[in-house]
């Protein structure tokens, strides 16, 4: 009965405080399973998180963890990585934390190609503070600050990361658990900025406002609307309608990572080169 991934949790902190049916728990399990799959040393792995529902995950994970200022998880993680490049640094962030408060840090982390694995828990809303609309709340969806539906266009975080220079960009959902684990595991493999958007259900703040209060119903929505990237590319434009979205590996390229580039400068300045 005891599962091997349980060793990566702080058992005295469980059960976690997330609402009944919240998808964050599923993604947290996926992260530790990806870590287990890649055989990362617990003492050489650092989990850095910002502020928000998603970022509470660092408190439950039995690694060296850092729960940082709102939106500033990526700068803290950059510091950790540069100070000791042999550490595996995983960043846990949310849609508000990453694209609103930490938007600038996010794009510059991508641009520098720091060797981090960033997992964005996208629940489409600010859950902890009472359901305000975030930059990733889909247009026309309701929130406490958008009672008639959000008029803003929402960010596509994967496109944003790719355009900003991230070398590995992927998306998955809390429904596609094994797929999500694989996406995170490949992200850990990539030497450079790896960005994984995990779509999670928030039945309490987002679901209740948008006629999807049942968490299972929200997961079925993911099942019915997510399309694998390969199939999505072949799909004619007139079928890419409604709420359909692609999942899978969105972008992958090779580029020098920041720690390597910095090492070169250290050598130059030391007069060795």
């Amino acid at each position: 009965m005891e599962r091997s991934y349980e060793q990566y949790f702080r058992q005295n902190r469980l059960p976690h405080l997330w609402c009944p049916g919240c998808g964050n728990g599923i993604v947290m399990k996926s992260i530790v399973q990806a870590i287990e799959k890649k055989g990362l040393d617990k003492d050489k792995t650092v989990i850095v998180s910002g502020i928000g529902c998603s970022s509470r995950a660092s408190g439950y994970m039995d690694f060296d963890t850092l729960h940082t200022a709102h939106g500033r998880a990526i700068p803290f993680a950059t510091g950790v990585k540069l100070a000791n490049p042999e550490l595996n640094v995983i960043v846990i962030t949310g849609d508000g934390d990453c694209t609103a408060i930490g938007g600038n840090h996010f794009i510059h982390g991508c641009r520098r190609n720091v060797d981090l694995t960033v997992v964005l828990f996208n629940n489409s809303i600010y859950g902890m503070t009472g359901g305000q609309s975030s930059p990733m709340t889909p247009t026309h969806k309701k929130a406490t600050t958008a009672p008639y539906g959000a008029i803003d266009r929402n960010f596509d975080a994967c496109k944003l990361a790719e355009a900003a220079g991230a070398t590995y960009v992927a998306r998955s959902t809390a429904f596609h658990v094994q797929h999500l684990t694989d996406m995170i595991a490949s992200g850990i493999d990539n030497k450079g900025f790896s960005f994984i958007e995990a779509i999670v259900q928030c039945p309490t703040a987002y679901g209740r406002k948008n006629k999807m209060a049942d968490p299972a119903q929200m997961m079925m929505w993911m099942r019915d609307n997510a399309i694998m990237k390969a199939a999505w590319d072949k799909l004619p434009d007139e079928k890419k309608i409604g709420e359909k979205f692609p999942i899978g590996l969105m972008h992958h390229e090779e580029a020098t990572d920041y720690a390597t580039a910095y090492e070169e400068v250290i050598e130059l300045a030391g007069g060795k080169a």
Binding site: P15, G23, I26, A174, M219
Partner: protein, 66 residues
């Protein structure tokens, strides 16, 4: 069937995800709103409940011959 369902009750929050994704209606919510096994015989051991449980409360194992 040849499977064993175990539940860590203190972890269950009664969200009903396992109940909704079970293809054989093995699970239900009890009067307190927590998960209970109502038809263990029907379990085919697909593991959908364990896979998607956000609270790591339910586990599906193959029965070990005693």
């Amino acid at each position: 069937m040849n499977t064993e369902l175990s539940i860590k009750m203190p972890r269950c929050k009664g969200c009903g995800i396992c109940v909704a994704f079970c293809p054989k209606q093995v699970l239900a919510l009890d009067e307190l709103g927590k998960v209970q096994v109502v038809n263990e015989e029907a379990c085919i051991g697909c593991g959908q409940c364990e896979l998607r449980c956000p609270d790591y409360a339910i586990f599906v194992d193959k029965k070990v011959a005693k």
